[in-house]
């Protein structure tokens, strides 16, 4: 009888484990190219985009996180970004999410999301749309009476001439229940040659400091094959609907 019970228990655990309940809290379902941004031509480069954030808690504890994306752009404005999804901003802690690659080809108006683990790709064909400025997720343009913008001059970073700008946004006392005014300071160093930000640093007393920088910058023209889906990938059409990303 004991043997029977033990065997039934083993079968039960095996069955439940096979369903993925104990896989670590998150499961990758797919990736899909979203909305392409501004197309920049005649400014090819490749670089690692490294983001590091740190926060000191009131009890002295520290939270540090980092993320890296390998970014490539050719003279035609095609872009390729390779990234590990890691924890997805804390949404998927302890998850083993795959590396994904996003390719945006404005020449053919085709975008791809590649799952390098499953060797699958999702293709979407989207005309480049007029830009939107929705609430919440995207920044609104225009001046803010509580923001101050100042120039930081010119420097050289990663062999590039970059122009610095500091934007200080003041949250007035009482606006979010704060006793004293809060200041959110963002510094950006922009390369006119690459038409991209080489370094940005944001300090917010609520969330700590976040620094994003380009490293290992190369201005050589990247290989065209980087913007093509490898021949052994299985490509499916996205048709701009969810649920059809690479599995």
């Amino acid at each position: 009888m004991r043997a029977q019970i033990a065997l039934i228990g083993i079968l039960a655990v095996t069955s439940v484990s096979a369903q993925g309940i104990f896989e670590g809290g998150a499961r990758f379902l797919g990736a899909e190219p979203g909305r392409p941004g501004r197309v920049v031509r005649n400014a090819p480069y490749s670089a690692d985009v490294v983001t590091e954030s740190s926060q000191t808690l009131p009890d002295g504890n520290h939270i540090r996180q980092s993320n890296s994306v390998h970014m490539v752009r050719d003279s035609e404005g095609r872009t390729r970004s390779e990234q590990s999804l890691r924890t997805l901003g804390g949404l998927a802690p302890n998850a083993h999410l795959p590396q994904v690659v996003f390719i945006n080809d404005p020449v053919t108006n085709s975008n791809y999301a590649l799952n390098t683990n499953s060797r699958t790709a999702t293709k979407s064909t989207v005309d480049h749309p007029p830009m939107r400025r929705p609430d919440g997720v995207f920044r609104r343009g225009g001046s803010d009476v509580n923001s101050k913008i100042e120039s930081l001059g010119r420097q050289t970073m990663e062999g590039l001439a970059v122009d610095g700008t500091r934007t200080t946004l003041t949250v007035p006392a009482g606006q979010i229940g704060n006793e004293q005014p809060l200041q959110v300071v963002t510094e950006t160093w922009y390369s006119a040659d690459l038409q991209t930000v080489v370094l940005s640093k944001r300090t917010d007393p609520r969330t700590g400091e976040t620094v994003t920088r380009l490293t290992n910058v190369s201005r050589a023209e990247p290989a065209h094959s980087l913007f093509e889906v490898p021949a052994d990938f299985k490509v499916s059409e996205s048709q701009n609907r969810p649920g059809r990303g690479p599995r």
Binding site: I21, G34, L91, V126, P129, G136, V137, F138
Partner: protein, 197 residues
């Protein structure tokens, strides 16, 4: 009389006869019905001589009285007990696996609205076309500039993830999976999320 009325109330009468003359399909159906009825009646007639043995009733009554008016439950021989136990256990496991699998496999989503971000891209001219109620900016995440690349990934996460974003999730369902779409910025960082259930 139409076909439905004929098949529901197939009584003999002038209307039925008229319908059978006008409708070959119902005429065929009627012939099959008549054939079936005739077959059943023939079988009943052939079985008339078949009956229970004359002493069966007496034996049953005697057995009933021997057990004090109660019929003892029929027990399966003990040799069958392990087999029945195993069969029940395996059936239960299959049922559990089926239920879990049904819950975890993403449902076809062809009728779902496109992601709001794509919907926004496909709309024209109206800033309000982005349903900001769909995507929730993640705490501490920087807002995106309008001209930045965005991409989407879909993951399945525990419902407990929703608690940190202000959703009311019961403790019983905290470990259940929920599908989420996450907006990634050009730096690869998650910026916003929406849950699809």
């Amino acid at each position: 009389m139409n076909c439905q009325e004929f098949r529901e109330f197939a009584l003999d009468g002038p209307e039925t006869i008229a319908h059978l003359q006008d409708c070959p399909a119902c005429a065929t159906w009627r012939r099959r019905q008549d054939s079936l009825i005739a077959g059943l009646r023939a079988m009943a007639a052939e079985s008339q001589h078949v009956g229970a043995p004359a002493n069966l009733e007496a034996k049953l009554v005697a057995a009933f009285r021997t057990h004090g008016g109660t019929v003892a439950p029929i027990r399966a021989p003990r040799m069958w007990a392990p087999v029945v136990t195993w069969f029940a256990a395996v059936a239960a496991l299959v049922a559990v696996a089926f239920v879990l699998n049904t819950q975890r496999v993403p449902k076809p989503q062809q009728h779902r609205k496109p992601p709001a971000i794509v919907e926004s891209a496909m709309a024209d001219g109206d800033d309000s076309s982005f349903n900001s109620a769909d995507f929730i900016p993640l705490p501490n995440a920087q807002q995106l500039a309008p001209n930045e690349d965005v991409n989407l990934v879909r993951v399945e996460v525990p419902r407990s993830t929703m608690i940190a974003l202000g959703y009311d999730v019961s403790a019983e369902r905290a470990s259940e999976p929920v599908e989420a779409e996450v907006v990634l910025g050009p730096d690869g960082l998650a910026r916003a999320v929406r849950f699809l259930e």
